[in-house]
Amino acid sequence: MEKLILLHPADNVFIVRKTIQANEKISVNGIPIIYVKEIALGHKIASRDINKGEEIIKYGVPIGSATEKIVAGAHIHLHNMKSDYIQTYTLEKEFGHEQ
């Protein structure tokens, strides 16, 4: 089974279809990448290089924007993208004790 799926042709992210294990090697658009850390089912991987401030496209629509330059194959999550509407709550940000 393919590990990654593209949900919409306009997307710049792949979705992890089956958890990528630590140190597993995956081919992303023909580029072999070794993932040091586990990346769980459902998470996003950049399908191409994405510039800082560029929209992240999933389901063919923008779901936020990049807060730094993201290289093809990189895991995309809270550390490198943000909502363009309302900030995301995490346990680390709880009650003003921001990391």
């Binding site: 089974m1 949900l7 979705i15 992890v16 279809r17 089956k18 958890t19 769980a40 089912l41 459902g42 998470h43 996003k44 992240i56 999933k58 389901y59 629509v61 923008p62 779901i63 936020g64 995309i76 999550h77 809270l78 993208m81 943000k82 909502s83 363009d84 509407y85 309302i86 900030q87 995301t88 709550y89 995490t90 346990l91």
Partner: protein
């Protein structure tokens, strides 16, 4: 497809129920223990505990509790009051009496305390169970059903498998003249422009758009969106991303209306429930937890609830059965006993969205016919009702 007719419980307002439950209702937290003691002695006998904990009056709580006490799945109601709380028990009692259901009010102070109240309650419930066996049973079909959908414990698989599969099921159910209700305008933020184009009238479209804008303002004031840390663990990064997934539950049908909690649609079709309070935030987040949304859907007449989850929610509900649709194949393997449908197989390429959509419709029929859902057989009967504030819906919300 299996036989699509079954026997339902006919109520005086013409609606038909798929369950014949005795509701034991505490009218303030101070009466909760007594009500629970009464309920627990009727385990597995369709006696459900519901109630409102607040001592102060609130129009919203009054509307919701009144609506649920005369829900078609409810056959009889026991009201448990401490005696000094603000809930208008007399009006609630009259409302239930008018519906033809057996109803009884226990005042704990009046009857002489905890033990006497519990004894009286147990006696009454025992009699009520026998009495409601005689409720007339009539033919019922999909067009008599009202079905709600919520998602909880979402992860990034929810929007890819379970939610769009529910969308397919909704399309099929709406086509067969069911009432289908989806909700959580806070999870449509970013999608208001798409949503409004699906409205049956332009005016309804404007109302839908405004309801999402209201949600965006409300959640901004709360400091963050309808988003829990588990959503992020599951690969969701932003509210827009979660919204796109959540919205897929609505399928492709046109929208017939916009309702607020406790409003009961009378015509078949797809409805959006606006669950975000009106006016300045007064009582905190729009919904304190998933069951608050389920309670609101039940108050709006839903006979059963399609609940999608990726992380793995286990909740059920009092009054209306909850069908659990698991989006994530890894979660499904871990929590099989709690899940009615494995939508994760879509992700593994083992089934299509349409096939799982059909499976969901079949499960709706089976549960409507009386087969317990997983959460029902595990004894889940969660219920939560707190304070909220709403203005009535405008005339454009339910176009003729």
């Amino acid at each position: 497809m299996s036989n699509k007719k079954w026997k339902g419980y006919l109520r005086s307002d013409g609606r038909k129920g798929i369950r014949n439950t005795v509701a034991v209702v505490y009218l303030v937290e101070c009466a909760h223990h007594v009500a629970r003691e009464i309920t627990t002695s009727f385990k597995d006998q369709q006696v459900h505990l519901i109630g409102f904990p607040g001592c102060y009056p609130n129009q919203y709580a009054d509307k919701i509790l009144n609506a649920i006490c005369i829900h078609p799945n409810v056959g009889a109601v026991l009201l448990v009051s401490l005696g000094c709380e603000s809930f208008n028990r007399n009006r609630l009692m009259e409302n239930i009496e008018r519906s033809g259901r057996p109803v009884h009010l226990i005042g704990i102070q009046k009857i002489g305390g905890t033990r006497k109240a519990i004894d009286d309650g147990k006696n009454w419930v025992g009699d009520a169970i026998a009495q409601i066996k005689n409720v007339p049973q009539v033919e019922m079909g999909i067009s008599d059903l009202s079905i709600g959908t919520v998602c909880g414990g979402s992860d990034a698989t929810s929007g890819i498998s379970a939610n769009p599969a529910v969308g397919r099921a909704f399309d099929k159910l709406v086509a067969e003249n069911a009432i289908c209700v989806f909700e959580e305008t806070g999870e449509m933020i970013g999608l208001e422009n798409i949503l409004k184009t699906r409205a049956k009238t332009k005016e309804l479209g404007a109302e839908l758009e405004n309801s999402v804008k209201k949600a965006a303002i409300y959640y901004s004031k709360m400091g963050h969106g309808s988003f829990a840390p588990g959503n992020a663990d599951g690969g969701l990064t932003t509210i827009e991303e979660k919204s796109m997934g959540a919205y897929a539950k609505s399928g492709d049908s046109n929208l017939s209306g916009l309702i607020k909690p406790g409003d009961i649609p009378s015509k078949a079709g797809l409805y959006l429930m606006d669950v975000v309070p009106d006016g300045e935030p007064m009582f905190g987040f729009p919904n304190i937890s998933d069951n608050a949304e389920i309670v609101e859907m039940i108050a709006s007449g839903c006979h059963l609830i399609l609940f999608t989850t990726g992380r793995g929610s286990v909740v059920g509900s009092a009054v209306s059965p909850v069908i659990k649709i698991c989006a994530n194949p890894e979660t499904y393997e871990r929590m099989k006993d709690d899940m009615d449908i494995n939508a994760g197989k879509i992700l593994n390429g083992e089934a299509t969205l349409d096939e799982v959509g059909d499976e969901i419709v079949e499960k709706v029929l089976a549960v409507a016919k009386g087969n317990p859902s997983c959460s029902e057989s595990l004894g889940h009967q969660e219920f939560i009702l707190t304070y909220k504030k709403f203005e009535p819906i405008g005339p454009a919300c339910l176009p003729m």
